[in-house]
């Protein structure tokens, strides 16, 4: 109970900030609306709030054939070492190839944790380890994960991996160990450091990935989303994912 209040409640500081911003809007001439400047970064020490919702837009047209830069960068950034055992190696992000049977057109897009607003992995978790942060990032608290893998079965996107073997040489910011489940964190350590980007987005040379705040109408991702149509994978499940796709 306390944890959920912590996650959804806004800090006094951000409340004051918003109130002040509201007062500023009121003093502008009628009809002119000022949006609060994008608060992509917060002060270190201030808890995440639901003022921001992180999301990603992936453009299948721009995603190049055979390119797996995002996958490589993600796994390097987060210390996800591949052991040459595809059946059990962890995948935080993978390139999924699609083929149109009618036309033969082939294309591929990266798929990772879709950071749902209503994540099924959180619904099924028996320990409360799988959770959604106030800013929309879905994570695993590995301290209390018992490795039951219900979340892996619940996830419609096959986004989560189980760690089958002892792990060494982890990234300092991404602890991971045998017997727990893990998935894409939207590079939460970079987001919390105010970088406002992820390793896969930084690595993409084709501008196929855009990361940003879905709540901020002036962020690049929000502007792109209003410009052209985009889709959520399995939108029929009404999970309202943070990751959206274009041209699939």
């Amino acid at each position: 109970m306390e944890a959920s209040e912590k996650m959804t409640g806004q800090s006094r500081r951000s409340f004051v900030k918003r109130t002040v911003a509201g007062a500023a809007v009121a003093s502008i001439a009628p009809g002119v609306v000022l949006h609060d400047v994008a608060q992509a970064s917060r002060d270190p020490g201030e808890a995440v709030t639901n003022e921001i919702r992180w999301g990603m837009l992936i453009d299948a047209n721009k995603c190049a054939d055979g390119c797996t830069d995002c996958v490589t960068a993600c796994h390097k950034e987060n210390g996800v070492h591949q052991l040459g055992r595809p059946a059990t190696d962890a995948q935080w992000i993978r390139k999924v190839h699609l083929r149109d049977k009618q036309t033969g057109k082939e294309y591929g897009v990266p798929v990772m944790c879709q950071h749902c607003e209503h994540p099924p992995c959180v619904d099924v978790c028996p320990t409360g380890s799988s959770f959604k942060r106030a800013d929309g990032i879905v994570l695993v608290d590995k301290h209390i994960c018992i490795g039951c893998r219900y979340c892996m079965m619940a996830c419609p996107y096959k986004a989560r991996s189980f760690i089958h073997e002892d792990v060494n040489d982890q990234a300092a910011h991404a602890p991971r160990g045998k017997g727990t489940v893990e998935s894409c964190t939207f590079c939460v350590h970079k987001v919390d450091a105010g970088e406002g980007t992820t390793a896969c987005v930084e690595a993409c040379q084709h501008d196929a990935l855009i990361f940003g705040d879905l709540n901020d109408p002036d962020s690049r991702i929000s502007r792109e989303l209003t410009k052209y149509p985009s889709r959520q994978l399995r939108a029929d499940l009404h999970l309202n994912q943070g990751v959206r796709y274009r041209n699939i």
């Binding site: 944890a3 270190p44 210390g79 942060r133 300092a172 602890p175 160990g177 939460v188 350590h189």
Partner: protein
């Protein structure tokens, strides 16, 4: 004189922590000297309370995203200061024999779970260093 008294007091505390009085049979833990001017808390408090500090900090970090300067009791910062190095300057795992965490935990016969998942040496990039200032 005051320093000697303090040292005596600290040695006394080690006995309390270790739960033994046979100081001559079981040698006190030896570990590499940490870098930095001072720890985030006084040594006697850290000896007794470090597990409470880090278990509280972990929830603040995981759920509320508190990292950097206000993540005062970050395990990552413990490792950054308390890691020992070999002759070639290579970092030794902090849970290796004779290193900071292992030496005391072995002395007090308490196992450590942290390093099943957490990195045991300072990371190549310490992203939050930019926010980290010396504790007051």
């Amino acid at each position: 004189m005051k320093t000697i008294l303090t040292q005596l007091l600290l040695v006394g505390l080690m006995f309390v922590v270790g739960g033994t009085v046979a100081g001559d049979r079981i040698s006190l833990p030896k570990y590499p000297q940490p870098v930095g001017e001072r720890c985030v808390e006084p040594t006697d408090i850290m000896r007794r309370e470090h597990m409470n500090f880090i278990i509280h900090q972990r929830d603040e970090t995981v759920y509320r995203g508190i990292r950097g300067i206000t993540a005062r009791h970050s395990l990552k910062d413990c490792i950054d200061c308390h890691t020992g190095y070999d002759d070639q300057g290579k970092a030794l795992p902090i849970n290796a024999k004779g290193q900071f965490c292992e030496s005391c935990h072995s002395y007090t016969a308490v196992s450590i779970d942290c390093f099943d998942c957490h990195r045991t040496t300072p990371g190549e990039v310490n992203r939050m260093r930019q926010f980290t200032a010396m504790p007051k």
